[in-house]
């Protein structure tokens, strides 16, 4: 697979406060994104995720390092013509209607009139805003703004799309809609660079991830390589069994009515729990083996730092 985005040794610092004290935000970021993948860029707040994206898109200038998009320098028109960007908490010109807004942005790509009109219609359809085409953006809800933001990011039919916290602040329905659009982009063969701290969504959509903490990439690779598939423990919910007898087999976490949630760490004890339930004429409601999640990995890494 071809490398779409290549970042080498990226450094950026800002001078903050009255005394212009230098604060290092990015400390030698290096990563590469391959064609057609959804790349998750993970990190706690203030880790440098947005700063990295801003450097890539030319909104801020790195002090050191090299960025290439499709083999072109990141600030070249050739690179910019192939990329789309949805910023975090997008805010757009609220006096414009949805279609006026897309029309304005399409002029920045020098699109021809007929192609432009067709593209705007199809994008409004894609983000399910056809009925709001003539509504001013000031009347848009958060979710609608996120979707029109997604539409403007796709105006030039980009091969690489940068999404900065696209799922932040959305309700479950809104998150699902944006997730569906990202999945559709992936199916169309587009490359998506997704910055987020909502781990469940990243786990659901991304092929590869990089974890950034304090301006440094701590870990990166394919999700299945990073997360161990070994069973960490098994969660068993059962009832009709004496809690005292269970304590020897695992950790009793909570009781709801006569139901007990038991965390069993040894695999051989799972069998014993089932036997105990059978002999006590109890009932096993659920039995879920838990493997390592992205959240476990992420929390572990952040705590180590």
């Amino acid at each position: 697979m071809a490398t779409v985005l290549k970042i080498e040794n990226l450094h950026k610092s800002f001078k903050l406060g009255f005394l212009l004290k230098k604060k290092e935000i990015l400390r030698g970021i290096s990563l590469s994104v391959e064609q057609g993948e959804v790349f998750g860029y993970l990190g706690p707040n203030g880790a440098g995720k947005t700063t990295t994206i801003k450097c890539i898109l030319g909104l801020i200038f790195p002090e050191k390092g090299n960025i290439e998009i499709f083999g072109h320098p990141h600030l070249s028109s050739k690179a910019k013509e192939k990329t789309g960007f949805l910023p975090e908490n997008p805010y757009f010109y609220d006096h414009l209607t949805a279609s006026e807004f897309l029309d304005y942005y399409s002029q920045l790509f020098l699109m021809k009139k007929e192609a432009k009109e067709e593209k705007i219609k199809s994008l409004l359809r894609l983000v399910d805003l056809e009925d709001s085409a003539d509504l001013q953006l000031r009347k848009f809800s958060r979710g609608m703004l996120q979707r029109i933001g997604m539409a403007q990011a796709l105006l030039n039919d980009p091969s690489l799309v940068f999404l900065d916290e696209p799922l932040g602040g959305l309700d479950p329905l809104g998150r699902k809609e944006i997730r569906d659009i990202i999945t559709r982009l992936k199916d169309e063969g587009k490359t998506v660079f997704l910055s987020s701290h909502i781990l469940q969504d990243i786990e659901m959509i991304c092929n590869r991830v990089a974890i950034i903490v304090n301006g440094e990439i701590i870990n990166q690779g394919a999700l299945h390589d990073l997360i161990s598939e070994k069973i960490l423990f098994t969660e068993v919910i059962l009832s009709g069994v004496n809690e005292k007898e269970l304590k020897e087999l695992g950790e009793c976490l909570s009781g709801h009515g006569d139901r007990i949630l038991l965390k069993v760490f040894k695999e051989e004890n799972v069998e014993k729990v089932l036997q105990l339930a059978q002999s006590s004429k109890g009932k096993v409601h659920s039995l879920i083996p838990r493997t390592e999640t992205l959240e476990d990995l992420f929390v572990g890494i952040v705590k180590q730092r």
């Binding site: 909104l59 960007f85 805010y91 942005y105």
Partner: protein, 254 residues
């Protein structure tokens, strides 16, 4: 084409600004007030109306340029609308020039409206359309273009309040810089005189665009003077815009 798109969007945004209409209202009040002033003054009433009217056009036009121009770029950065623009295949200078021409277009429309009120008032007194007034108005427009570029320059690195103060200072200095010329003649040679000479050449002289008195008094103005003022306006505006572009192209949008 890209500059045009940004200019029209800037125009659409600026034309919705309430400050613009408030200033337009006060400009209209001042122009009409000149009629009352003419009644209270001894001398040619029409000349008073023309003088006060043209001064109102200049002052309120400048206030419009400053109050809207200083927020133009700052607002884009503050509201982060600039993020999605700059990430598109567009050069930063194109964005800045788009903003400049958008405001110039807005000011042109406002100046047209104010001029219409002014010329109508003059017409009611003279029963002729005094086309030569348009020359004075044209030079007011040149002055407004220069002030717009200055407001835009400050807007590239400062907050709207500070930028407004700086731009207003530029306007006031620009209309009093001729005093330095007198000062140069009066002070003895030395460091003071050198400093005064430097300031005289460095500071703007907005009186170059002021043909109000000459036109109201029907005085002859050599065409070289007009030419000098036009070139002065074009080159000074270009100079300020180049500085603005140089600052803007290196700016981080945090």
């Amino acid at each position: 084409m890209k500059i045009k798109a940004i200019a029209f969007n800037t125009f659409r945004e600026a034309i919705r600004d309430r400050i613009l209409y408030l200033l337009l209202f006060f400009a209209a009040v001042c122009i009409i007030f000149s009629r009352l002033l003419a009644l209270l003054t001894v001398g040619d009433k029409v000349k008073i109306i023309k003088d006060v009217g043209l001064s109102s056009l200049s002052l309120f036009g400048a206030l419009m340029a400053i109050l809207i121009g200083t927020g133009l770029v700052f607002k884009e950065i503050d509201k982060k609308t600039i993020y999605t623009i700059i990430s598109k295949p567009i050069h930063r200078y194109q964005f800045l020039l788009g903003k400049f021409f958008g405001l110039v277009l807005t000011l042109f429309i406002m100046l047209l409206l104010m001029s219409f009120i002014f010329l109508a008032l003059v017409f009611f007194h003279t029963f002729t359309i005094e086309w030569e007034m348009l020359i004075a108005i044209l030079f007011i427009f040149f002055e407004l273009c220069l002030i717009t570029s200055v407001a835009l320059l400050f807007s590239c690195f400062s907050t709207p309040i500070l930028s407004s103060i700086f731009s207003l200072a530029f306007y006031l200095i620009g209309h009093t810089a001729w005093g330095i010329e007198t000062l140069i003649k009066k002070i003895p040679p030395g460091a003071g005189k050198t400093l005064a000479r430097f300031l005289y050449h460095f500071l703007p002289d907005l009186e170059n665009f002021n043909f109000k008195t000459e036109i109201v008094q029907h005085l002859d103005i050599p065409s070289e003077v007009y030419l000098y003022s036009i070139l002065y306006g074009i080159f000074y505006t270009l100079f300020v815009l180049i500085i603005a572009v140089l600052i803007f192209r290196k700016r981080d949008f945090i």
